[in-house]
Amino acid sequence: MAPTRKRRRSPIGLAFIAPFGALFALVFIVPILYAAYLSLFQDKLVGGNTFVGFANYVKLVQDPQFWDGVGRVFWFTLVQVPIMLVLAMALALALDSMRLHGARFLRVTIFLPYAVPAIVSTLMWGFLLGVKYGLFGSLNRALGTDLDPFAPGTTLISIGVMVTWAFTGFNMLIFYAALKAVPRELYEAAAIDGAGEFQIVRSIKLPALRGSLVVTIIFSIIGTFQMFNEPQILPSMVANSGVTTFYTPNLYAYNLAFTGSQQGYAAALALVMAAITIAVAYAVQIRGLRNAPDQ
C-alpha cells in the first residue's frame, strides 16, 4: 500500500522519540565512540597508556588468530543459518496449515528453548553429548562406536546443533506471525481457482515470508558473528574440544580485554567486527529486498 496522503511534519514527534534517543545515545552511540577512542591507544602493564594511532588496526589485520575466528563464524553462518531457517519455515507452515492437533502446545514447546539461557542450554547439551556418561557415551557403548561430539573436528557441529535447537523456535514465530498476516480470503480465492495446498504454499505463503526471511537472516548473521556463550563454557565441561581463546571473534575480544589487558586492541577488534557484520547484513538486506513486493 503506497502512502496516499502527505504527512505533515510536526516537532511534537521529536518529544516522543526523545527518551529513546537519549537512551540510544547513552548505551549505543557513546560506547561506540568510546571504543573508537580506546582503539587508538595501547595500555601497557609497564609504561601506561600511550597513543598509538591506527597501530591496533594494522596489527589486527595481520593477526592470524583473528582471521581464524572470523573464518569459523563465517563458515558456521553459511551452514547453520540455512538449516535453521528452512526448519523454522517448515514448522511455521505446518502450524499455519491448521491441520495439526495441539498446535498451541507445539508452538510453545518449539519456542521454549529460546527462553532457556545459553549458559543453561550449553550445560545441558554438554551433559547430553558427553562421551563418558552422557547420551553419546551410552550410544557408543551400545553400538560399539567411538564417536565424540566434542572432538576438535566436530565441536563446531555440536555447537551448531545447540544453536539450532535454541533459535529455531524464535525464527518460527516470526514466520508464523507473517503467515498470520496473510488475508484468509486469498486462500479462499485460490481454492476457488482450483489451487491445491502446495500451490497455495508456493504462490501465496512463501512470497509472504520473503520480508521476514530477510529479517531472520540478518538477525541470525548478527547472532552467529557474536557467538560467545557456547565456546566460553564448553572448555570447562569437556577436555580438549578444540575451543581456543580465539575461537570466535567475540570470545577473542573478551579474552584480549580481560585476561590480556589489551583493551585498545580488543576495541579495535570489536569495531572491525561491527563493520564486517554491518556490511554483510546490509548486503543481505539489499539483495533480499530487491524486487520484493510491498517493501
Binding site: N240, G242, T244, G260
Partner: protein, 441 residues
C-alpha cells in the same frame, strides 16, 4: 583529557556490579574526606572483595574490637572475574575496594604497574616471621611486600586407598619412580582405571617442575627471563611426557568437570596431586568415596628426600587507590594473623601461619572423610617443605589462559611433545611481555 575521564566514569556506572560498589565507596568517603588515614578514632567503612567464605567469619570479632571501622565483605566473583572487576574499577577511578583477594600468581600482575599499595609502609614486616617462607616470597615482588598470605595450597597427593589395594599396592608411592610403577598396576585394573588425569593443567605441571628444582621464571623488576631447559624443569617434563606417552594418564577427563567428579566417586581415578585445598572440596566432589581417600606428601624425586611445591593459594592486598588503607590493613592483620585467624581455621581455612601449622590441636585433628587421618599434620609438613625461590611472571594470568590453546593439540593427538608446547608458550610469553613493556627473554 577531562572528557575521557568522564567517559570512563560513565562506563563504570553502566556496569551494574560496579555501580553497586561505587555506591558503598561513595558513602565511605564522607567520614575521612578521602584521605588515607582511616585508622585512629575516625569512622571508616571498608569494602573487602573476597571469595573466601572464612574471611567474612572474622568480621564480627574485628568490629567488636574496632567499633569505628565497619567492614563490608563483597564477593565480586572468583579469580579472573574479580581481577577484571578490579581492573575496571581502577581504570574508572571509582568503586575501588579497600582490600582485595588475589591468588599468589596474580599479585605481581597488579603490583608491577603500581596498582597495589606497598604494605611495608603500613608495617607488614613485623608479620613475616610467622608465615611459611615460600608463601611470604609469593607475595613479595621486587623486594617489597604487596599482600598478606591468607590461605595456602601446598601440593599433596590425595590417593584412593581401596583402588591402590585393588591394584596390589600396599603403600602410597613415595617417589615418582614408585608412582610410575603404581600407574602401570592401576592401568592393568581395567579400561577406565588411571592413576591420574591431565588435559593440560599448567598448575600441576608447574608444581612438578617446582618440586624438581626447576625455576623457569626469573623476575627482576620489569626484566623477566623464561627458560624451560634447566635441569629441574627438563627432568619433570620428561617424566610427565613418559607417563602420557605410555598411556598411564587419562587425557579425556578434564578437572572440575562432571566426569571428573564421577571418576573420583567410583574410584577409577586413583590419585590427584594437588593443592592442600582439595581437602575441603573433595568431600563435596566425591561423597561416595568417603573413607577411601588419604593424603600423603607429593612423591619425591629422590628416595628419602623431602621437597614440596605449592599449587594455588591466595592472599589479600590493598589497592593503591583504596581510600582507607590503614583501616584495611588493620582488618587484614586481624584475619590473616591476629585474633580472627582461629575463627577462620575453625571454619576450614588452611593457612600458612606457623602458629597454626605447628599447633598440636590443628595437627592432631582427625578428619572423618579421610578415614580419621590427621590431615592437618600431613599438610603442615607439606607447607614447610615447599621449595623456595619460585616466581611467577607478572603476566601469568594471561599466560595461563593461552596455555590451553597450545597444549590442546598435543593432548588430543599425542603428536609433538610437552617440551615443544612449553617452547611455543615461551615464545608467546616473550612476545606478549615485550608488547606490555617488560623486557622478556
Amino acid at each position: 583529557m577531562r572528557l575521557s575521564h568522564k567517559l570512563r566514569l560513565l562506563s563504570a556506572a553502566l556496569a551494574p556490579m560496579l555501580a553497586l560498589t561505587a555506591c558503598s565507596g561513595g558513602g565511605s568517603g564522607s567520614g575521612s574526606g578521602g584521605s588515607s588515614t582511616g585508622g585512629g578514632a575516625e569512622q571508616a567503612k571498608i569494602t573487602v572483595w573476597s571469595w573466601d567464605g572464612t574471611v567474612e567469619k572474622a568480621v564480627a570479632g574485628f568490629q567488636a574490637a574496632n567499633p569505628n571501622i565497619t567492614v563490608e565483605v563483597v564477593n565480586a566473583g572468583s579469580s579472573q572475574d574479580e581481577y577484571k572487576a578490579l581492573d575496571n574499577a581502577i581504570q574508572a577511578g571509582s568503586g575501588v575496594p579497600d582490600l582485595v583477594m588475589f591468588e599468589y600468581f596474580a599479585v605481581p600482575y597488579f603490583a608491577v604497574p603500581g596498582k597495589l599499595a606497598d604494605l611495608g609502609e603500613l608495617g607488614v614486616d613485623k608479620l613475616k616471621q610467622d608465615f611459611v617462607p615460600a608463601a611470604w616470597s609469593d607475595v613479595t615482588v621486587n623486594g617489597k611486600v604487596y599482600a598478606v598470605p591468607s590461605d595456602y595450597g601446598p601440593s599433596a597427593m590425595f590417593y584412593n586407598m581401596s583402588t591402590l589395594k585393588k591394584a596390589g599396592i600396599e603403600k602410597p608411592p613415595a617417589t615418582w619412580d614408585e608412582y610410575y610403577e603404581a600407574a602401570k598396576k592401576i592401568r592393568a585394573l581395567g579400561d577406565d582405571y588411571y592413576i591420574a588425569q591431565d588435559t593440560g593443567d599448567i598448575f600441576f605441571l608447574l608444581s612438578l617442575i617446582w618440586q624438581a628444582g626447576g625455576r623457569p621464571f626469573k623476575v627482576d623488576g620489569t626484566k623477566v627471563h623464561i627458560d624451560f631447559t634447566d635441569p629441574g624443569t627438563t627432568r619433570a617434563v620428561a617424566f610427565w611426557q613418559k607417563m602420557l606417552d605410555e598411556g598411564l594418564i587419562n587425557t579425556k577427563i578434564t578437572g572440575w568437570s562432571d566426569d571428573w567428579n564421577r571418576t573420583l566417586n567410583d574410584g577409577t581415578l586413583a590419585t590427584q596431586t594437588m593443592g592442600g585445598w582439595l581437602t575441603s572440596t573433595l568431600p563435596e566432589r566425591a561423597p561416595k568415596a568417603a573413607g577411601d581417600f588419604r593424603v600423603a606428601l607429593m612423591p619425591q624425586w629422590e628416595q628419602g628426600a623431602k621437597t614440596g611445591a605449592a599449587n594455588g593459594g591466595s592472599s589479600f592486598g590493598i589497592p593503591a587507590a583504596a581510600q582507607h588503607k590503614e583501616a584495611a590493613f588493620k582488618f587484614l592483620e586481624y584475619f590473616a594473623h591476629g585474633g580472627g585467624l582461629s575463627t577462620r581455621v575453625d571454619a576450614g581455612a588452611f593457612v600458612p601461619n606457623m602458629s597454626v601449622l605447628e599447633n598440636e590441636t590443628f595437627q592432631g585433628k582427625a578428619n572423618p572423610y579421610f578415614g580419621g587421618q590427621k590431615v592437618g599434620a600431613v599438610l603442615a609438613e607439606a607447607s614447610e617443605i615447599v621449595g623456595s625461590g619460585w616466581q611467577y611472571p607478572p603476566f601469568f594470568e594471561w599466560a595461563r589462559s593461552i596455555y590451553g590453546d597450545l597444549a590442546s593439540p598435543f593432548y588430543t593427538t599425542g603428536q609433538g611433545s610437552l617440551a615443544e608446547v612449553l617452547e611455543q608458550w615461551r615464545q608467546r610469553c616473550i612476545q606478549y611481555g615485550n608488547e606490555q613493556g617488560f623486557e622478556v627473554s
